[in-house]
């Protein structure tokens, strides 16, 4: 605390670094390409048993009988955990203290409220025995009719959508705006349920030692997971050590500790031995979240110049029968296009599914594909090029709030991406372009945007007498590159070469780095690292400038620079000395500093903070069979300071591929009669394979943002989906003249 204060009082101490902005290869890359990176399920403590879930094959009802004896009779089975013998918990798993606490299914009773809900856990000496034991349970059910689909239950207006946002918002008079319009469009779009499907299934390896817990499990939010487990088991958070050095993908599904992970902890308690529990792929379609389906209706009015007079965006979505997460899809219309009147609203049904959750760009992705499709329809209705139409309706301030943007290089994104793509030669009419093989060719575009969010994080920095440094924060790397980007920020923060910095992350015994989500981790934990570095450098500068033996003596008022492991006088860089000399002379082996990362309330109030981008897509459609191929994608994104362009480009590519997937591939199909998901596997739930992905370009558009945070970081993890999904849909229309109104686009929709 005091260190931070002294830092703020001494802005004269500057650090000059060269790591930020460099396209370094991943510092965890060698471990990952050699198979040495240790993911949760790769751990195997001595004496470990294997736990396998038995899950419900019905959507609603109760478990009437389980053949526990048959399972226990199988050789190698040690124990079967059911509601009858599940160890007691200190808290009700159905209690909900705050919106971020989701209700869990922890065998609290025999009720079934969604398919693939855990109904028992079999613990055995081998994985094979546990798996066979789970099959031998042969559950019998009392089945109740499942509530399925967006028309499957009575509609409600949620109290909040997304993370506490209002379900209904408006400015201006939408009906009057529509009435006064010269041109109007109205269109309804449907998006399906989607499942995160990280390549790494949720897994936990857990050992109890008395009342302390040692856990390996993938987590996007270590401190939140620790707190949730502590509450459920009635033990102190500091008695729970969670390691999560690598996540095999998260995408939101590992943001909260899930029911199955807690069941692993319960299983270990029951048998008194370490336990490993790994979800089977099909078991990930229920208890670990999904993106809820939506049906969105947009109405737009335009004047004679193609300016919006009104924008109305309504989204219907679904949550589970027992908990709340409502996809805030209509909120996508708050930030992109200027209109004197905007209304957004949501309603929802409660279905017999697992509770939906944040999935990469929650609300933004679903809302974007509908909004960008509708904008495309509106442009065509006005006889305008879609880019020209978007520029005509360019928002100079945030449309819903009227706040200025902290920065917005969207025009430059449009310009660079359009030029690289060759957009200028596009005919406005659809179905006019064919390639040499006779395939219908279409070009579409979409605008990308995602809010620049910050959470709360802390970091601890150490400088040692040998001249090296340590930076600690419990950051989580789910593939976005935290190990590398944060080490770069740490190196510059400490004024050291990156190889002189021991960067530690991925463990709950380090300072709380907040959550890796909302595209806010780099900004939040990055600022904590930056500030911790500043704090320890300020302390070092105090030592030197107050020491008569130092060439920096008396430089306090002028300030010093930290660079390359040395402090220099700001007014005379010929005078300086190394960190090691300063600490050694002071007789210290090390000094430390602490830093925090958090949004600045004043700038939160004053500015709208968003990243932006533009995506252009080319598709080719077989005129006879309707098969669609994306052949080209060009995106340009402006998201503030880029810490590592190599990794950022990978994030944009990944997001854009998710956009292609949203438009053309992904969909969980629910059987209307049973309520079960029919394609709960990676063969039938389609995600793009390498051959589905075309030539992609992602242009990094320079953007300085003085308001988001001192480092100027926005976020890059989710924006790529937005814009891309709509661009692909619009290209399909341009190729075929058929407007996709439900996603993923189906061949039969194109064949009429």
């Amino acid at each position: 605390m005091t260190l931070e204060l002294s830092l703020n009082q001494q802005p004269a101490h500057a650090r000059q670094g060269s790591s930020i902005g460099q396209p370094l290869t991943r510092r965890d890359g060698f471990l990952k390409v050699t198979g040495a990176a240790r993911y949760a399920a790769d751990n195997h403590p001595p004496g470990m048993l294997y736990a396998v879930l038995a899950v419900s094959s019905i959507a609603r009802g109760r478990v009437a009988a389980l053949d526990v004896e048959a399972a226990k009779a199988h050789k190698g089975v040690v124990e079967v955990m059911t509601p009858k013998n599940r160890p007691a918990l200190a808290a009700d798993p159905d209690a909900k203290d705050h919106p971020f606490m989701f209700r869990l299914d922890l065998l609290q009773n025999d009720q079934v409220r969604y398919p693939n809900q855990s109904i028992a856990v079999v613990i055995a000496e081998t994985l094979e025995a546990a798996t066979e034991g789970a099959a031998l349970l042969s559950p019998r059910y009392e089945v109740m009719p499942a509530r399925v689909g967006l028309d499957g239950a009575e509609s409600i207006v949620p109290r909040a959508v997304g993370v506490g946002g209002p379900a209904v918002q408006h400015k201006g008079d939408v009906e009057a705006g529509l009435k006064s319009a010269k041109t109007r469009i109205e269109a309804t779009y449907e998006t399906p349920a989607q499942y995160h499907n990280a390549m790494e299934p949720h897994a936990i390896v857990v050992a109890w030692e008395g009342d302390t817990l040692s856990i390996d499990t993938p987590s996007q939010g270590l401190a939140m997971a620790q707190g949730r487990i502590a509450g459920l088991f009635g033990i102190a958070p500091e008695n729970i050590h969670i390691r999560s050095p690598f996540l095999g993908g998260g995408f939101g599904s590992k943001g909260m500790i899930s029911g199955p992970q807690v069941l692993g902890i319960l299983a270990a308690r029951l048998v008194g031995r370490p336990v490993k529990l790994v979800l089977r792929r099909e078991q990930m379609y229920g208890p670990v979240g999904h993106r809820a389906p939506t049906r969105q209706t947009l109405r737009m009015g335009m004047d004679g110049e193609g300016r919006l007079t009104a924008l109305d965006h309504h989204a219907k979505t679904a949550s589970s029968t027992f908990d709340d997460f409502f996809e805030p899809a209509a909120d996508a219309s708050h930030t992109l296009y200027a209109s004197p009147a905007i209304a957004t609203s949501h309603d929802a049904v409660r279905l017999d599914t697992g509770t939906p959750l944040f999935m990469r760009a929650p609300g933004e992705a679903t809302g974007s594909i509908a909004l960008e499709s509708a904008i495309d329809e509106a442009a065509y209705a006005c006889g305008m090029d879609p880019l020209e139409f978007r520029l005509r309706n360019y928002a100079e301030v945030e449309p819903m709030t009227g706040k200025p943007f902290s920065s917005k290089a969207l025009r430059e994104c449009y310009r660079q991406a359009a030029e690289t793509f060759g957009w200028a030669s596009r005919p406005i009419q659809p179905r006019l372009m064919r390639d040499a093989d006779g395939f219908l060719t279409g070009w579409g575009m979409g605008t990308a945007t995602f809010p620049a969010i910050m959470f709360q994080a802390e970091a601890r920095a150490v400088l040692r007498a040998d001249g090296s440094g340590v930076m600690e924060t419990g950051a989580q790397d789910m593939g976005q590159g935290a190990w590398t980007a944060f080490a770069q920020i740490a190196a510059d923060g400490l004024g050291l070469d990156i190889d002189q910095v021991d960067f530690r992350a991925g463990s709950s015994d380090l300072p709380n780095a907040g959550i890796a989500g909302g595209s806010g981790h780099t900004a939040t934990a990055g600022m904590a690292i930056h500030n911790a570095g500043a704090a320890v450098i300020a302390r070092l500068a105090d030592l030197a400038t107050g020491d008569e033996g130092s060439p920096l003596y008396g430089a306090g008022n002028e300030g010093v620079l930290a660079r390359g492991g040395r402090l220099y006088r700001r007014d005379d860089e010929s005078r300086g000395e190394s960190y090691a000399e300063i600490l050694t002379r002071a007789g210290l082996t090390e000094i430390e500093g602490h830093g925090k990362g958090a949004p600045d309330p004043a700038s939160q109030e004053a500015y709208a903070k968003h990243a932006h981008g533009a995506v252009f897509a080319e598709v080719k459609v077989d005129p006879d069979f309707g098969q669609i191929r994306v052949t080209r994608l060009v995106g340009a994104f402006a998201a503030g300071r880029v810490i590592n362009p190599r990794l950022v480009r990978s994030q944009y590519y990944g997001g854009m591929i998710w956009g292609v997937s949203f438009a053309l591939h992904e969909e969980a199909i629910t059987d209307r009669r049973s309520g079960r998901i029919q394609n709960a596997n990676l063969a039938e739930y389609h995600v793009p394979v390498n051959a589905d992905v075309p030539s992609i370009e992602a242009l990094l558009v320079h953007e300085d943002d003085p308001h988001v945070n001192a480092l100027g970081i926005k976020g890059v993890g989710e924006i790529g989906i937005t814009g891309t999904a709509g661009a692909v849909a619009n290209a399909v229309w341009h190729a075929t003249g058929v407007r996709p109104r439900r996603f993923p686009v189906r061949i039969e929709d194109l064949l009429g």
């Binding site: 050699t34 198979g35 040495a36 094979e128 990280a198 690598f246 996540l247 095999g248 993908g249």
Partner: protein, 159 residues
Amino acid sequence: MTKTTIPVHLDINGRDHDLQLEPRVTLLDALRDRLGLTGTKKGCDHGQCGACTVHIDGERVLACLTLAAQVEGRTVTTIEGLAREGEMHPVQAAFLEQDAFQCGYCTPGQIMSAVACIREGHAGSDEEIREYMAGNLCRCGAYPHIVAAVRQAALEAAS
């Protein structure tokens, strides 16, 4: 439902292993749970994702669809057997340089497939690489960089 074990002799990465296994044990689970070779990953256990790709007698095979007992007398190579004396295999180096992965979970399988893809002569063009690498899912969406890495390693192998 067998309750007995059988002796299985495995040749993995040039080392011999003698195990007593139930016949139902897959090669993937034998590698991961019995031998501590956890570089090979389980993503689906159904032969749908490619994360468990290994080489058997030099050909790429899904370890989750292969029983350990089936590879008796054959040569198995896993991701741990690719580097030589601490030096990365050229495909591993290309993956690192091209940033051909993010979370890294599918990466061992991608690399084993890539090594085989090049050896098979199926890395002649980006289009061919995409097609012959299509059995390995990457949810992070590293595909463009995977193609770049395979292309780079194939060119190095040819020169």
